[in-house]
Amino acid sequence: MEIKAPTPQIPPAVWTEFKDLQELEKYRQERPEGDKHSALFESLTEGIHQFPGGFVVTSVADAFLNWARKSSVWPVTFGLACCAIEMMATFASRFDVERLGMVPWASPRHSDLMIVSGTVTIKMAPMLKRIYDQMPDPKWAVSMGSCANSGGPFRHGYHVVKGVDRVIPVDVYVPGCPPPPESLLNGLLLLQEQIAHFRTTGKRAAPTAKID
């Protein structure tokens, strides 16, 4: 009598039989509404496609790069006036912009964002322009407070630039005199939203109408 080894039964490679993918699908269906982390993930990875039967994930290159850009916006430490106190409070542990991937950096060469925090005098404006020019592209600017927005209470002084947008292009204007850290955080979140729609066409994203 011939003894045969049992023929191994190889299951067909159907992707639904992978247990981890089933678990993942189950998790996705069971995910509660308003799950901020997953909603954030989906908004970041617009255009993600997952091929059946594999683990290959594709995305739109711009979306991926913008996700990387908005997740590590490093502001150059550039305090001009009393708004800088509120900016420092925003950088410090209570409000903690490092949650947003922002590291206040003391070199314009490594920075992506300039927060113009305070009154820009006519004598200071060339230095501000120089620091802005030293930052590598792509770069953004936030105008913080009434003075940087329009000159503020010093608008009719002889020595004040009537708005920093006469010197450098500005992406987000944060009102207030000075704006509290919550306002600046809101402005930074709006800036991140703008960066998410950044296109390498040489044009800046249109400012969002969203305020609050």
Partner: protein, 150 residues
Amino acid sequence: MIHDQARARIQERFGVGAEGDGPLLTVTIPPDRWVDLARFAKETLGCLYFNFLSAVDWKEQGLEVVCRLENLQVGLVVMLRTRLGAGQTHCPTLTALYRGADWMERECYDMFGIVFEGHPDLRRILLSEDWEGYPLRKDYAVDTPFAPYR
């Protein structure tokens, strides 16, 4: 009282009365006796402390230079005022008497355009070198566009 004595000595030496009845004496003097009065205040009245020097623009009546000298030991304060006259911008300098007058007069030149004759280094101190006009004068047009940032 010490300020009555000082008032009497100023009256005796210069022939002008000092206003004010407290320890603050305000003396108005023509510009050609400006340095004499300051030297008198320093050497005779003992006002060694140079507090400040500034100016006032009285529009068509011309500019007025104001200087405050103090004797801290006896609490005597002398305010010197001089009217330069309409359209006049020249004033003698106090830098030979007080070293502290140097930057004060430079600031005064910067903001009002008053030329202090005999000043060792009269140039702008706060504003940039290429600034046009003197911004604290009343006729300075604040909102005129100024290249490139205004």
